[in-house]
Each structure stands twice: as structure tokens, then as C-alpha cells.
Symmetry: C2
């Protein structure tokens, strides 16, 4: 299979590694608006061939992966579909879906497109952040599959099944709501936590001598790139605002209980929060 | 060295493993108000000998470790010091310090006590949560060291230096303020995040099909025990409230920027949060 990857960062690059490792791709063409990323992607062995001409790069491929930030996605995906023939399967790997699917809703090649979201990543970005095995045992959400051609869906299922991903089917609206809860809010919390601590650090540098595992765990997402996350928050703004309001409400409630020294109620809230055990391993 | 550990949970048990592994302890006596914990601690090889008589267990030891939750600590530590002679060094491993140090301020054996806080742990508790190597390369805070006998401080430095911990010296007030920022707020955020998502789950079970690494990372602390954390929040209430107010303020600010669709400002806030990179590895 010839694969063209547009946007060779953390996700595009990691996918390239997995497609090579499994033998699914025998040739990978890489397109990136940054010549530097393209050079790095070749040097790191993520892609076999850098390309500039989008139309040619699309038409030579069996599978086209668009892995650019969500704002660029809205303009790049229609261009890719303009170039696509019935031979190509085109996927995105984006974190929000409703706006993107609206943007290509009436595209004549809509059926060649399968909207997918691999629930995997790290707080790093760029080709050098690519990791082998990033997708193994993670979930792939396939959105609005009935709008895609059956052969295109079948190809996506075969490829990501081979990468050992769990396939989950969902419509775009449900996807955007759920990811607000499961992913987007975690990032906002982490950004806010970093800002809280950095604000304090102005007064006292010694504080970071104490940074421990629990802190690292909750704050690591705060290293994530604004180039990736601002477009996600923009495109999923209403869901993110709803979840954020609920989260602020929960924090205010805990704050009030602590302020009132109502420790039995704090205890009960923590016990309630512990129920998250049934979801996390 | 004979070591007596009072409270054989995650921290007490992990310390037992490290003291054995390094050969620092040739005999470990374990005291726990739970007979079940005591049995488990023997079965898991954490302790050599379970004991009931606190006075005897203290007096037979060179080093006494009090590793009980912070509310019990306020009553257990004075009892331990009542039993201590000039031969013993007594340490706590607690997460808050100001109230505890007040509680023993005028104790005749105050100088045998060294207040320490190993900045290490997991979200699990009990003897079965004990881990070898938990303390390696982590920070140990030693509080108000000038109030302890020089030989007791020297013993603590030797023991924890041998466990490959970084030693940091701080007064109790600074410790409690800094841990509010570096540890306690992370737990509150995580509890609130779990409550937010669990609230949502009532409506929709499918949401957890999507739980990914980022979610797990920010929410794992929400599995932490209320028996450990309520006493910490109680004893460090004022600092925790201050930090929590600042954190809620940061979240509300991000919320407002998103509500106003002021994306350049959201971008700038994330860039600011990214500065946490200079602190975390």
C-alpha cells in the first residue's frame, strides 16, 4: 500500500512508523508545509519521499492521512478530496468532528473520506515526537461511517485493526461531546494548574524542589502545543464550555465544603470520585 | 539497624522494602492498628515481626517511622515520643507539618524527632501497594531540622541519602504552603475532574470507551484514599483554600476567554502554561 501523510507531526509520524512496522505501507509519501519538518521526517525514517505537489501526492496513494491541526484541517481536507479519485481512501485524525464533517458534507468525493480519531497522543509535537506503538491497544473512533463508501470503511477497519486498535463507532455530535469530557477538559485543567503554580513561582522559586509524581502527572498535559489545542477548543467551544462550567462548579463545591470545614462531606465527595476506579485500570 | 514502622501502608511498607534492600535494616518491627494489615505485611515480607506493644516496639528500635494518616499522626507521634529514649530517632512521613510540629513542640523528647516528608507515592494504599524503589531519585523534605538533635538529623540524612533521595531543608510553614501547590491542589483537581465526568456518565455510559492516556494521567489521583486526604486538607486548609481560589480563578479566566472567543488570548495563556516545561522534565 502506498500511503501519503499530510502533516508529519506526532500523530502523522507515529502512524507512519506503525504502518511501516506492520508492513502495511511499502512506500510513504510525506507532505508538510514546513520544509524543516519534511527534512526531519526523512532523516528520522518516518517517510520515504517528501512531496510538494498535493494533487500528485494524493493520487499516487491508496490511503491518504490528513494529520494537520484542526484549523488547517478545514481547508486542507477539501483540497485533498478535490484531488481524490475513487481509488483513494482519505482519513483525518482530528480531535473534533462536527465542523469538519459539515465542511465536506456536500463534497462530491465525500464518500472517499472516513473520519477517524485515534485516542492516543502525548504532550509533545513535531516529527521528533513520533513514537512506535503509540496506537496499540488504544481506541479509534470512526465517525459517521454510513456516510463513507463501504470499501473505504473496510480499508480503515483493516488498517487500524492491524495496528491493534479497538474500533468504536459514533456520530460526530456524540464524539465531540465525549471528547470534551475525556480529553479536552483534562487539557484545560492542566493548563490552568500550570498557570496557578507558575503564578506562585514568581514569589518563590523553591517550590519546584518539591515537584513530585502526582504533580507531573496532572500537569504534563500543560506542555501541549497551543497550535494544536486552540483550534480544538474553538471548534468544540460549546461542549468545552459546558464541561468547564461543570468542572468549575465541582471545584467550587469542594471549596465550599472545605471552607465550611464540612469534612464528612469532603470525605463523601472523595469516595464518590474514587468510583472512577471502575473506569480506569 | 532495628527499625519499627508504625502504619504499614503504601509509604511505611515501601520504606520497609527499601530499608531491607539496601541492608540498612536487619530487623523490621511492624505496628498497625489493623490486624489484617499486619498479617499482610508479614505475608508480603515487608516486616519481620508484628508487634502490639507500642512502647516496647519503640524502645527496641534505632529508627522509628510513624507512617499513619495525618489525623492519627497528631495522637500517635506524642505517644511514640513518650516511649522514646535518647537512643531512638523518630520520624514521621506526613504530608503536612505545621500542626504536627505544634503538637510536639514542648514534648520533652522533641529533639529525638525529625519531621520528614518523602515526595513520593501513588494513588493506591495499604500494604499491598508498597513498592520497591519508590523513593529513589525523589525529594525528601526535612522540616525544622534545627529543632532536632544533631545525631538524629545525621541518621536521617544517612538513611535517606542511601535511598538515593535528594534532601531539601525547609521550615514547616514553607513546606505546607509549597505542598499545597505541588501536591494537594493536584489531588483536588483530579477529584473534581472525576466528579465532573462521573456526573456526565449518569447520562451516557459510552463516554468511557474513549478514555485515553491524557485522561488517565489527570484523573488517576482521583483514586486516592479519603482516609489519607481528608486529614491533609483539614490540616492544610488555609493554604489549600488559597491555592484552590487561585486555580478556580485561572479556570474562570480561561472560560471567559473561550466564551468571548478571544482565541489569541487563549493561545497566549497556553504558551504561558507551556513554561511549566522548564520545571518538569
Amino acid at each position: 500500500m502506498v500511503v501519503t501523510i499530510i502533516g508529519i507531526g506526532l500523530i502523522g509520524g507515529s502512524l507512519a512508523l506503525s504502518l511501516k512496522e506492520t508492513g502495511l505501507a511499502h512506500h510513504i509519501i510525506g507532505v508538510d508545509r514546513s520544509p524543516d519538518n519534511q527534512r526531519q521526517a526523512v532523516a528520522l525514517g518516518l517517510i520515504d519521499e517528501p512531496a510538494q505537489d498535493l494533487t500528485e501526492a494524493v493520487q499516487r496513494a491508496d490511503l491518504v492521512v490528513v494529520a494537520v491541526p484542526m484549523d488547517a484541517m478545514l481547508t486542507v481536507l477539501p483540497l485533498v478530496l478535490d484531488a481524490a479519485t475513487d481509488r483513494q481512501t482519505v482519513i483525518d485524525v482530528g480531535s473534533t468532528k462536527a465542523l469538519l464533517l459539515q465542511a465536506v458534507e456536500h463534497h462530491p468525493q465525500r464518500s472517499r473520506f472516513v473520519a477517524v480519531h485515534p485516542m492516543a497522543g502525548t504532550e509533545y509535537s513535531g516529527p521528533s515526537a513520533a513514537l512506535p506503538g503509540l496506537f496499540r491497544d488504544k481506541t479509534l473512533v470512526i465517525c459517521d461511517a454510513p456516510r463513507s463508501a463501504p470499501d473505504a470503511v473496510a480499508r480503515v477497519e483493516a488498517v487500524f485493526g492491524r495496528l491493534a486498535m479497538r474500533l468504536v463507532y459514533m456520530d460526530a455530535t456524540a464524539h465531540d461531546l465525549h471528547t470534551a469530557y475525556i480529553s479536552h477538559i483534562s487539557h484545560i485543567t492542566s493548563f490552568a494548574l500550570a498557570l496557578t503554580v507558575l503564578e506562585k513561582e514568581k514569589e518563590d522559586e523553591q517550590i519546584f524542589a518539591l515537584a513530585s509524581g502526582g504533580f507531573e502527572s496532572t500537569v504534563r498535559l500543560a506542555k501541549s502545543s497551543p497550535d494544536m489545542w486552540v483550534p480544538i477548543f474553538r471548534q468544540n467551544r460549546e461542549n468545552v464550555l459546558d464541561v468547564l462550567d461543570e468542572h468549575i462548579h465541582q471545584l467550587q463545591h469542594l471549596r465550599e465544603l472545605l471552607h465550611q470545614e464540612n469534612y464528612p462531606a469532603v470525605y463523601q465527595q472523595i469516595q464518590q470520585a474514587n468510583l472512577i476506579k471502575k473506569i480506569l485500570k
